[in-house]
């Protein structure tokens, strides 16, 4: 590695990707300065608990920090909170903050993430009772509005993971929760009909109302109370509304600097953008995944952290390419869902229920022809880890053995 002593690496974005990149740079031997910039005022925190333990009151943001405050000092990582970056001046190799100050870089990492999409529905914008759920401030707002409300009536627009996790967390606190989903099943964009049915049943049993094929047309506010109006005229009253209908990738900064974009900031396997000194990592990137042979964009902690490590390694001179198997998890009530691989394009699914397990340990094994492509495991860490191992090895179990609950879930038994 060339001498980095007098060099500067700037990172835009202090969430999972940005913060992990900073610490990975130090570990990989970057000797120069490292500065992270983020609009958020908070010390960087884990986002997944915001819709889970934080809403239900089991944990606090302070308990969910990515790194302790002292770690930034120890590793000499400058953390600039509450500031937004206005522009990248590529020819001068510097960034400009909203207050006009400029910072020079030798290497720049964009970890700009994504922002909740607020659909253009009358009444959604400008209400103090309507919340997206992405930041600690959003989660605090939801919790305060919920705790201070009389009826504890919550309408959640969007039956994705964020919406369903928020529904579970607020239901635990006694909320009357309705989830309105535009598609004909929840989690339509992210999982199979079998898993959608499982979560619909789970929420229904717990007392959450799930209404699919409900398109919200407007939200009316009278004093402290809201009415969510659906196309067709159905009306739902609410003390607060949570909007979880997906995100828009934060590409403005990259775009206005002339970096290549497609479904996100375009990067190669080393996380390098179309500028040789600018890397991009995390939710904001679009990249060709060698395992799947196509360009993808992933919104996950795994992708953020793994891409951060790859970018840091490459900046510090070791040529590393991203090839991680995607993994995700979701906690709802007492159910833990763990997923690995990407099921897109599967044409066969094996549903396996372990005979003597309470709560039921279930796993779904997705195949494209004979090739295993993904595993979803419900309360079944063993199936998840086994799936991960098999996917890493590029092998595939025999579907008919998997489907037989009498056959033990072990490589020695389920392989062809």
């Amino acid at each position: 590695m060339e001498d980095t002593q007098n060099q500067s690496c700037l990172i835009v974005g202090a969430s999972h990707a940005g913060v992990n990149a900073a610490f990975a740079l130090r570990r990989a031997g970057w000797a120069g300065t490292i500065s992270i910039f983020d609009r958020d005022e908070e010390l960087p925190y884990h986002r997944p608990p915001l819709s889970k333990g934080f809403l239900s009151g089991d944990t606090t943001v302070e308990e969910s920090l990515l790194k302790a405050a002292a770690s930034y000092e120890t590793e000499q990582i400058g953390l600039h909170r509450g500031v937004s970056v206005r522009a990248i001046e590529r020819s001068a190799k510097r960034i400009e903050l909203a207050d006009g100050t400029r910072h020079a870089y030798d290497k720049l990492i964009l970890a700009t993430g994504a922002s909740p999409f607020i659909p253009p529905i009358t009444g959604l914008k400008g209400s103090d009772k309507v919340f997206p759920l992405r930041t600690a401030a959003d989660a605090r707002g939801i919790r305060a509005a919920f705790m201070n409300s009389r009826g504890k009536n919550v309408v959640i627009i969007g039956g994705g993971y964020i919406g369903l996790e928020a529904a579970a967390s607020l239901r635990k606190l006694g909320g009357e929760v309705t989830v309105l989903e535009r598609e004909n099943r929840v989690l339509a964009r992210v999982t199979s009909p079998e898993m959608s049915a499982f979560f619909t049943d789970l929420h229904t049993q717990k007392g959450v109302a799930i209404a699919t094929e409900h398109n919200v047309s407007s939200v009316e506010q009278h004093g402290d109370s809201l009415t969510v109006v659906c196309a067709g005229g159905l009306r739902f009253s609410a003390d607060l509304v949570i909007v979880g209908v997906g995100v828009r990738v934060n590409t403005e900064l990259a775009r206005s600097a002339g970096l290549k974009n497609s479904n996100g900031i375009l990067v190669d396997g080393r996380m390098l953008t179309s500028d040789p000194d600018i890397y991009a990592i995390g939710d904001c990137t679009s990249f060709h995944h060698p395992r799947y042979g196509r360009e993808i964009r992933l919104e996950s902690v795994q992708n953020a952290v793994d891409q951060a490590k790859v970018a840091a390694a490459n900046i510090c001179g070791s040529s590393t390419a991203y090839d991680a198997i995607p993994w995700f998890w979701s906690d709802q009530y007492e159910v833990k869902l763990q997923m690995c691989g990407i099921a897109a394009g599967y044409n066969r699914v094996i549903v396996r229920n372990e005979a003597d397990s309470t709560p039921c340990k279930r796993s779904l094994w997705y195949f494209t022809d004979d090739q295993l492509v993904a595993v979803d495991a419900v309360n079944h860490a063993r199936a998840y880890m086994l799936g991960m191992k098999i996917l890493k090895e590029g092998r595939s179990p025999a579907p008919e053995k998997l489907a037989d609950p009498e056959v033990e879930l072990h490589p020695r038994s389920i392989m062809p």
Partner: protein, 134 residues
Amino acid sequence: MPQSWCTNRFPDKKEQSGTVYFFVNDLKFLTEMAKINFITKAGVEMQLEAASGSVMELAVNNSVPGIDGDCGGVCSCATCHVHVAPEDWAQTGAPGDMEKDMLEFDDNASEFSRLSCQMSISDELDGITLKVAN
């Protein structure tokens, strides 16, 4: 843990108009530090101490290489895998069911494997040695 805690929960408790007062001594157990020794894959020894939280958090906050804790400590990622020194196994105890499931197919797993996010720091763990698995 102070003997008084085990035999008599609040030996110096004073009750007054429904308010419970504790003397500082009673809270001593909360601040007793446990020293934990980490040995990284590269063979570097690090002695760290804390009074609370999980072993994973202690390691992450002190940048112990190989302990990432990507999922934040909810037993979902297995990026905080350690091997407990055999002589300390009685102190740490065996993994829970889910933790065991997360470890079973890990190529680096041994009979002394634990996920450090599932190990709560208390003075029970004082002096143990953990080898980082990855």
